[in-house]
Amino acid sequence: MKPLRIALTKGRLEDDTVALLEKVGMNCDNVHNKGRKLILPIGDGSIEVVLAKAADVITYVEHGVCDLGVVGKDTILEHGGSFYELLDLGFGKCRFALAGPTGRNFFTGYHTKVIASKYPNVARSYFEGKAMDVQIIKIEGSVELAPLLGLADAIVDIVETGTTLKENGLAVIDTICHISARLIANEASLKLRKVEIECLAARMEQAKEEAQ
């Protein structure tokens, strides 16, 4: 039997997922000592971990070259795609928020607002839902800069504690949605390897609930 291949989002989600997998009883030494390797067998070898950037996790799962993936809801909302979203893993928690300069009422006035964001699709669907015409500008780096420099009226970004916003004279205007890490599955893989995948998902869910 081919090993089950799971793509993890590099960085913090990777660490949290590995911790969860270890709690499930899988030996993840290969991930801790990965060196330059990109495909790492874990546990008894029936599972292989692949490390990738967030959006690539979705791409690999969508095409079925990885059976499972762990990726943030933020990436899912921005990137879209067709796959099964099996489990809310409960870590990597934060939220999408609309934020603007403190003390200024964002919703007043009739001029078209300019919104800076690293997540243009999330921003677009949020304002479409409000039937508000806005101009969205994609920013790659620190989005907080855009309103400070006068480029944008507000930003749509991920907010964890709100400290960065506060330090830059910005405040949350509205929470768009909550975010956490998700376990996703390729559609064909779930159908063809139902027992293995459901068993792993159930163990992960149980470990998550025990941790809480």
Binding site: Y84, E85, L86, R182, E187, L192, K194
Partner: protein
């Protein structure tokens, strides 16, 4: 301005040599499976009016369609699907035809996909439509044809059965708005248990709600039917379940055995499909390779109400699978090269024609000299050179 004269549009590709062989072989196997079961081929225009694919009827979003206008400003699309044009064709041109009507198609469909995701915008599809027949005999007829056609190209596949009636019946029991219904449908379609629970938690906890909660989890084999029996909220849902069970057994008995699976949470384009839905997967290919179902309301859209069922097979996917298995190799060199000496070129052409009539693959040389012809044959690996002069000499290289 930068010219795009050396590349193909995103989501399209050229096919060369063995790729063409593989594609043609797949098409031939599928179409001959359809033909031997009494289905007749139709071809529809690549260009259709947008109105044929009205998103409310087709479930195809306007963003996915390649659009243009005709001379009078009417909106035209490149067909994003073959079933709707065939429904149009049946409703307008085969009104008085003996029912049921058995048709098959083998033509590409066009969808505008989000860029750089590795999906094709031009996708070859082949499938059948059985129009004017309902009931289990018609459903099984189409399922067997699907199994036979797929088996001829890709023996190792899993056929999955579902039924649009479950979601419809469960949703009818819930006090929900149209939007909430769509949110629930999406959550079930993507097996997003977390999102589904969030929506359902806000409703009064009835049997239909707990059934809906289970719906995306109800997939697998025989055991699903037992589990589903316990959560079916109404008599109608139970009847649907027993119908599906009957179909499941029949398909198993047809020789598929454990290769049939069920998924009661199959809700794709739900309002398009009305009853049985089915799809197929194969190891090593991340997407479904066949999709079909019964769509009894569609023909009424074209003012010719009649029941209908059909499926489409992803020819592109089967071609890629066949190529990845190494079933097709680059076409071999010709068996004979015919070179005519000066003054004998007509005789050489006649000789080549005689050879091809014997069934040999044969090229006629366009070289000026015999040495050039020989060098050409050697470089391509052609093993025999026929030199045509006053007499014909055969040289083995």
């Amino acid at each position: 301005m930068k010219k795009n004269n050396l590349i193909t549009p995103e989501g399209t590709h050229d096919l060369l040599f063995e790729e063409c062989l593989a594609r043609q072989a797949v098409e031939n196997k599928l179409t001959s499976a359809f033909r031997t079961r009494g289905y007749n081929e139709v071809m529809t225009s690549c260009l259709e009016y947008y109105d044929v694919f009205d998103p409310d009827a087709s479930g195809i979003s306007p963003e996915e369609m390649y659009k243009m206008t005709d001379r009078r400003g009417r909106l035209i699309v490149m067909r994003p699907d073959s079933t709707l044009p065939i429904a149009r064709l049946v409703a307008t041109r085969l009104q008085n035809h003996q029912l049921p009507i058995r048709l098959f198609y083998n033509q590409p469909v066009y969808r505008s996909n989000p860029g750089l995701a590795g999906r094709l915008d031009e996708n070859a599809q082949a499938g059948i439509e059985l129009m004017g027949a309902s009931g289990i005999r018609a459903d099984l007829e189409v399922l067997t044809t699907a199994v036979e056609a797929l088996s001829s190209c890709c023996p190792d596949f899993r056929l999955e059965l579902g039924h649009a009636g479950f979601f419809r019946e469960f949703a009818r029991q819930l006090p929900i708005s149209e939007e909430e219904r769509e949110d629930i449908r999406c959550a079930i379609e993507t097996k997003n248990y977390a999102a589904l629970d969030t929506i359902l938690d806000s409703l009064p906890q009835t049997m239909a709600v707990s059934g809906m909660r289970q719906l995306p989890r109800l997939f697998g084999g025989e055991e699903v039917f037992q589990q589903a029996k316990e959560v079916c909220p109404t008599k109608a849902a139970l009847e649907t379940l027993s119908y599906l069970h009957q179909v499941y057994h029949a398909v198993q008995d047809l020789g598929l055995g454990s290769h049939v699976i069920v998924d009661l949470g199959l809700v794709q384009r739900n309002d398009y499909y009305t009853d049985l839905i089915f799809t197929a997967y194969t190891e090593g290919y991340g997407d479904s390779i066949l999709f079909g179902g019964r769509y009894d309301n569609l023909l009424a859209r074209f003012h010719c109400p009649m029941p209908a069922i059909g499926f489409g097979i992803d020819v592109e996917a089967l071609t890629r699978i066949a190529l990845s298995k190494g079933h097709y190799n680059a076409p071999p060199a010709a068996q004979v090269l015919v070179y005519g000496e000066n003054g004998y070129s007509i005789k050489a052409l006649a000789h080549a024609r005689a050879l091809t009539h014997q069934g040999l693959r044969c090229e006629t040389s366009v070289a000026e000299t015999r040495e050039e012809a020989e060098a050409y044959a050697r470089s391509l690996g052609i093993c025999r050179l026929d030199v045509v002069g006053a007499r014909i000499s055969e040289v083995l290289l």
